[in-house]
Symmetry: C2
Subunit: 179 residues, 2 copies
């Protein structure tokens, strides 16, 4: 394995921000050459696919500034300090859709491992019970209800672009079909 491993030589934090930091480190490659590694530090997040007892899923529509596009995504948010990911998932589900439910883990994703260290914990929520929606101040979202069968088509037809959402839907769809 050692012939694949890079070692940190010098760490540089070039930017410390609200949701991300930028690191540009000098590293030593397996062949002894030097290189730089540019990447984002992120505290990690949790996301949850909510499915009600009638087979409907709930997404949030949100403007994503980096793409200048409205995207459909499962409810998600950043981990708070020291918090277990399932706590984040339960909180974000409640804040963004008003639902509580039975929340179970469905894997962890590394969204784009070349330049971020974010770990994104995925959950599925079933047996949903409705409460009040309470989004963060200055968070602008719309909840979209869609039958799972249609949402699976949205993924395979390319209407869903967000990676965590496509993953959660396909994993649920594949597991449901397997039996």
């Amino acid at each position: 394995m050692d012939k694949l491993i890079e070692k940190e030589v010098t760490a540089h934090t070039l930017y410390s921000g609200k949701i991300i930091n930028l690191r540009v480190d000098d590293v030593s490659l397996p062949n002894g050459n030097g290189a730089i590694r540019e990447y984002v530090e992120h505290r990690g997040g949790a996301a949850v696919l909510p499915i009600d007892n009638q087979g409907n899923a709930y997404l949030v529509k949100q403007f994503r500034y980096p793409y200048r596009e409205l995207l459909l995504e499962i409810p998600a948010g950043k981990l708070e300090d020291g918090e277990p990911p399932i706590t984040t998932a339960i909180r974000e589900l409640k804040e963004e859709t008003g639902f509580t439910g039975n929340v179970t883990p469905c894997g962890v994703l590394y969204p784009t491992p070349g330049y971020t260290n974010e770990k994104l914990y995925i959950f599925i929520a079933t047996d949903l019970r409705k409460g009040d929606v309470c989004p963060d101040e200055d968070e602008f979202i719309e909840v979209v209800k869609v039958p799972m069968s249609e949402l699976i088509e949205w993924v395979t037809e390319g209407k869903i672009k967000d990676a965590k959402t496509a993953y959660a839907v396909l994993r649920y769809a594949y597991t449901s079909k397997k039996g």
Copy 2:
């Protein structure tokens, strides 16, 4: 829709790097409040799941410095200027595994839309023909051959963490099961 849309007020590029730039923009929220948006500019990438006529998939094992971990991923690389994504996919497949094949599109992923503008184009390669491996200089990878049936288990058991890889495998698995 307008009640969800944020507008750019002032753009700031804080870092221009080799693979990413860092932008920290002042924006105007739908309610008129100001906010900042921190995100990465990335030129986009392409990735390809290669499956041979015996039902084996080919992954690359690679050290990913942001996680300080060895990850298993489908072959992938950055788009070169003005290049169609399928050209990138064909090139990276050849460089990293030595294969050429029949490369077909399988969607586009937005890996983590809160803080990057990367678009990642996904392909599947079948009818593989073997040639020479020719990785980039200073790229250290190992090719791993695995039956698709086992790779699907690796995804559902959490051994595959890379988002593009999990997506491509699940999409192929779901579509294959569908008929």
